[in-house]
């Protein structure tokens, strides 16, 4: 599968990463190369093979319904570029 410039621009936008127009061809080419590499896996015959989700036979770990965390507002907001009155303050999101 080859990625064209338009698709590369779309993916960049979805990821909210700014990519200048002149950088798009190289990006598209890199995407294509990576996908091409991965696509080799399609050559393997996996008929009748169960998808493997873990290398060790583990059961999904569960927690009990008990409040054990939270009340760390200061720490949660510590890395925010801007926070006011306990909220994260971000550039206006227009709906």
């Amino acid at each position: 599968m080859s990625i064209d410039i338009k698709t590369a621009a779309h993916v960049a936008k979805l990821a909210r990463i700014r990519v200048e127009d002149d950088a798009l061809p190289a990006l598209a080419q890199e995407f294509s190369a990576i996908l091409g590499f991965i696509e080799q896996l399609n050559e393997v015959d996996v008929d009748g093979v169960e998808p493997m989700t873990s290398v060790t036979p583990m059961r999904l770990k569960r927690r009990e319904d008990v409040v054990t965390d939270g009340n760390i507002q200061k720490q949660v907001l510590a890395n925010a570029p801007d926070a006011r009155e306990g909220f994260f303050a971000v550039p206006k999101v227009v709906e």
């Binding site: 989700t53 009990e64 909220f87 550039p91 206006k92």
Partner: protein, 503 residues
């Protein structure tokens, strides 16, 4: 078991400028699991907390934090599935739904696209006695809620609160089996009722604990039947999705508006574009959320942080064994056991607390009388004071005691209502109140006879008239009741008045 046969309601028909049109509606209901902690973290789900105080580092998506699933939330999804007679998938899995928004710090929502925990089920939506719509459930999956953005606190900034981020939701997806705005609202009411019976979601729509996305399309009469026959969606019109509504009234108004908008477009020779729309309750219209369209490319993939969710049949069986009696069964039983109408049974089983209250009143007493008193006197009085059943000043035991006094003919129906009002405002033991305040019914015929004689003697003119027109006997009955302070047994008074007047 009672015969539960029913007829489906007629689909709503809207007259366009050129033709008649019908609606086809499917809903995605997001129900917040009634858990103490979040789906993948140990932070609290308490509503109304200080902003960003119910947040763990997992919810804030700090690097390296990993989700650990809350087993209670899984159990509630299974319970809800069983309550909707749905198949339970012993193996389900989590996927990431990727999109960017300030109140979604992970940059993705953990959901279950490919392998939901609950499969196909059904809900019987009652519209009127004997009229109900069977709505098929396609699936229920577990997912995380997003945070909350507040846009009106500052002209240039949006404020983000992550308290809600990561709270467990059950998304209940229906098939497009709903045929009108009223049915859609009734469907949400029924789901809410079932989940409140099950205790899996508190159904508080005001706090956003129950919200619905509504898919609406329109078609010509006959098209829907062709779809039902073939399950081929091409018979139906293009649908629009109205997002995130948290009131039954808005759901109905939005569907009505949206259907008329689509009809006008089609009759005008234009096309309905499949899109996401938002309902504006102030303007009473839906409008396009164009900003969402490109973001709809969610690039789902299996969540690498979570192993598949495998549950055991024995556990599911245990949950099934612990299910309470659900609304449909309870209603049928009330009709059968207490001889009440289906309508009264619906009213009494609307929520589990009312049903329990009624049964406590009815135990060992006449069911019909108990139903009448709970519905007419108690519910009426609660409504007047805007109180819920759990806040009722009159307990089931007190109401039962009033009915006992009435049943033993110790008080008249009129006095019973007065007594109810006294117990409502002052509290106390009804039997004691009757004793202390001399409210007992006079059943002593001698005393009643004396009162009748007195009234007859004092009103010779009325006696003559009554002899000519027996209907006027009622006047004497009223006078006697007045003279005895309403305590005379009305039947005894009736009989005596008739006898004395020679009627």
């Amino acid at each position: 078991m009672l015969d539960l046969t029913y007829e489906p309601p007629k689909p709503k028909v809207i007259q366009g400028a050129k033709h008649d049109w019908e609606l086809v509606i499917g809903l995605e209901v997001h129900a917040q699991v009634a858990s103490k902690a979040k789906l993948f973290s140990g932070a609290s789900t308490q509503f109304g907390a200080e902003p960003n105080s119910n947040v763990a580092f997992v919810d804030a998506a700090m690097p390296g934090m990993l989700p650990v699933i809350n087993e209670f939330c899984v159990e509630q999804a299974v319970r809800t599935g069983l309550g909707l007679k749905a198949s339970i998938n012993l193996r389900s899995a989590f996927d990431r739904k990727n999109y960017f928004y300030p109140d979604l710090p992970q940059g993705y929502q953990i959901s279950q696209l490919y392998h939901p925990i609950v499969g196909e089920g059904e809900v019987l939506v009652d519209m009127a006695p004997g009229i109900a719509r069977l709505v098929r459930i396609e699936r229920i999956h577990i997912e995380q809620d997003a945070g909350k953005s507040i846009h009106d606190m500052d002209p240039n900034m949006s404020f983000v609160d992550l308290n809600r981020t990561g709270v467990a939701l059950m998304e209940i997806v229906s098939r497009p089996d709903i045929r009108g705005p009223e049915e859609a609202a009734a469907y949400v009411v029924k789901l809410r009722q079932i989940m409140r019976y099950l205790g899996t979601c508190d159904g508080n729509m005001q706090n956003g604990n129950l919200r619905a996305d509504v898919n609406v399309s329109v078609c010509r009469p006959g098209d829907y039947e062709r779809y039902q026959e073939t399950q081929d969606f091409s018979h139906l019109g293009t649908r629009c999705e109205i997002k995130n509504m948290n009131s039954m009234r808005f759901i109905q108004a939005a569907i009505e508006y949206e259907a008329r908008r689509q009809i006008a477009l089609i009759e005008d020779g234009k096309e309905v574009v499949q899109e996401t729309r938002l309902y504006d309750p102030d303007k009473g219209e839906t409008r396009s959320m164009r900003s969402k369209e490109e973001a709809h490319d969610y690039r789902y993939f299996p969540c690498p942080d979570l192993l598949p969710l495998e549950i055991e049949q024995a556990w599911v069986d245990d949950i099934a064994a612990s299910l309470p009696e659900l609304p449909d069964e309870k209603r049928a039983r009330f009709v059968l056991d207490y001889g009440m109408t289906e309508y009264d049974a619906s009213v009494l089983t609307a929520d589990v607390e009312s049903a329990m209250f009624f049964e406590n009143v009815a135990r060992g007493r006449d069911g019909k009388t108990a139903a009448n008193w709970v519905i007419n006197e108690l519910f009426g009085r609660l409504k007047k004071d805007d109180l819920g059943i759990s806040e009722s000043p009159v307990s089931a035991a007190q109401l039962g005691a009033i009915l006992d006094l009435l049943g033993r003919d110790e008080i008249s129906g009129k006095i019973a209502k007065d007594l109810f009002e006294i117990v409502w405002t002052e509290g106390g033991d009804p039997a004691q109140i009757v004793e202390d305040r001399g409210m007992k019914q006079v059943t002593d015929t001698g005393a009643i006879e004396a009162a009748v004689d007195e009234v007859i003697a004092a009103n010779p003119g009325q006696v003559e008239k009554a002899k000519a027109n027996p209907k006027l006997a009622g006047w004497f009955v009223g006078q006697v009741m007045k003279a005895t302070g309403g305590k005379a047994n009305p039947k005894a008074v009736n009989d005596l008045v008739a006898a004395k007047l020679g009627l």
